[in-house]
């Protein structure tokens, strides 16, 4: 079958847009058409922790001559409770703030004030410079109650060897500002006592200001057509983040030898982070009908975190235009050098960096899911996906003097979540 130039380019130029998590629309028409891609994700963690509803609307306008204009809007509504970093205690624990909250005995303290709505918008334009070269650029903006993010990116891709090889390079710059309730806490300063609730100026425990960070990402990509039925992709990415890296709502417990809390201190992370990642993916059309993909990512950073991610999916077509797609993802990370479950009495004055954020702890995670959908060319296509995610932490960063005292508590409970995603994609 002789393909049109449009189809030939589609087969390879996808690498350019994937740098932005983009992807070419399925519309084949040369006329100006909109490819509308919509989805809603419902995310629910166990034990009444974070619940989120996240609708996405993305429209790609095919301007002809392989020029694409894309606009995307994401809304993310979050409620629920999130661990604040403190360890359980034998007695109720009350945490200060504009609206104090209390954790029951032996329970992981959860900050139940977690409530936010995030809006994110993306505008993007991609066009060919020649039959071999594609250029794309985009801007994005996101706002939350206490957070604003602005970003811009530029991508270039060049096809070689009869479009069998695509080399690409992308640069992304992001500027974030954070303005937490009550201002930025002073790292490792003691959280004011809950009994001091009429202390509006926080007595210096929070300095009342906002802060910012910048993130620069570089991604170099290589996409190779292996044969008429398979594709290999490899990306190297470097990400450098400078500025405020702390979570202003996270604390650490300073505990006595009996494991009971004496006070809480705000977390302190380094003021920069460099991440390197290598990503590989292999995609193959099998049995003249199905599509399977395997990918692997290795990430390492200068906080001491290394991670491995393996992702497997198999799209099995049944009937004329419907598929069932099982998916498995396995993830494992080591802890950050400055991760501590809690600190021994006085240790907060000996360390310069410390965090009890479970996302910086050592853990494994598994995602298992199944998706069902339709794939009829030129028609609206729907999909429904159900996934289960579970994190299994490994205990690390236990303070030495309090190790016995803390052993009576469940210091790093498992996290599980269910994700349901509904999608509908059509040409307009």
């Amino acid at each position: 079958m002789q393909l049109t130039p449009e189809e030939k380019r589609r087969a390879l130029a996808a690498a350019t847009l994937t740098l932005l998590g983009g992807g070419l629309p399925s519309a084949q028409a040369e006329d100006k058409t909109w490819d509308i891609d919509t989805a809603v994700m419902v995310y629910a963690e166990s034990d009444n922790r974070v619940q989120a509803v996240e609708p996405v609307l993305k429209g790609t306008l095919n301007l002809g001559a392989e020029r694409y204009f894309t606009a995307k809007l994401v809304v993310d509504t979050l409620t629920g409770a999130s661990p604040n970093g403190a360890t359980p205690a034998s007695t109720p624990q009350t945490f200060a703030g504009p609206s104090p909250y209390t954790a029951d005995p032996n329970e992981t303290p959860l900050d139940d004030r977690f409530r936010d709505t995030r809006f994110q918008g993306v505008v993007d334009y991609q066009f060919p410079l020649s039959d071999m070269d594609t250029l794309g650029f985009g801007v994005n903006a996101g706002t939350e109650y206490d957070f604003v993010s602005l970003g811009a990116n530029l991508r270039y891709a060049r096809d070689l060897f009869q479009h069998n090889t695509t080399l690409s390079a992308g640069l992304n710059f992001e500027s974030d500002s954070i303005d937490p309730v009550g201002g930025i806490p002073i790292p490792l300063a003691v959280m004011r006592p809950a009994s001091d609730s009429d202390d509006d100026d926080m007595n210096g425990w929070r300095d009342g200001s906002s802060d910012s960070k910048t993130v620069t990402d570089v991604v170099l990509g290589w996409t190779q057509v292996i044969d008429p039925k398979s594709l290999f992709q490899m990306n190297y990415s470097l990400s450098r983040s400078s500025g405020y890296q702390n979570d202003p709502y996270k604390v650490l417990s300073v505990v006595g030898t009996d494991g009971e809390p004496l006070r809480y201190v705000y977390e302190a992370r380094p003021d920069s982070r460099s991440k390197n990642a290598l990503f590989m993916s292999y995609k193959r059309f099998v049995f003249g009908r199905d599509v399977t993909e395997i990918s692997y990512r290795y990430m390492t950073d200068d906080w001491g975190i290394n991670s491995h991610t393996v992702d497997l999916s198999y799209r099995w077509y049944f009937g004329s235009a419907h598929y069932l797609e099982p998916h498995l993802r396995w993830y494992s990370q080591t802890a950050a050098d400055f991760y501590h479950v809690a600190l021994d009495d006085g240790e907060e004055s000996l360390v310069s960096e410390a965090s009890a954020d479970t996302r910086l702890a050592e853990f494994d995670a598994v995602t298992a899911g199944i998706k069902i959908g339709s794939a009829v060319p030129g028609r609206g296509n729907w999909s429904l996906r159900l996934e289960y995610y579970q994190q299994s932490p490994k205990l690390s960063g236990v303070p030495t003097q309090a190790a016995d005292g803390l052993s009576k508590f469940d210091l790093q409970p498992e996290l599980s979540a269910v994700m349901l995603t509904m999608g509908y994609r059509f040409t307009w």
Partner: protein, 76 residues
Amino acid sequence: MLRTKPVLITAILLSNFSLGACSHLGAKPWERSVLARPDMQASADPVQAGLDDHVYFSKEASSGGRGFGGGGCGCN
């Protein structure tokens, strides 16, 4: 070790697939009908991939790989 096992399996699978195809690397222009399928694109469902990236960015210490790693989000 539990951590290295899936990595090793992935590496072996990837190298097998790649080496087996070395003698006929690539596809001629008239052999591209499969590669032009929407489900054979490097990112076949970018909206869903974006939702996944956002979840994992807010729950894990890693991000990016397939694309840019910045989240534009205060969730991590």
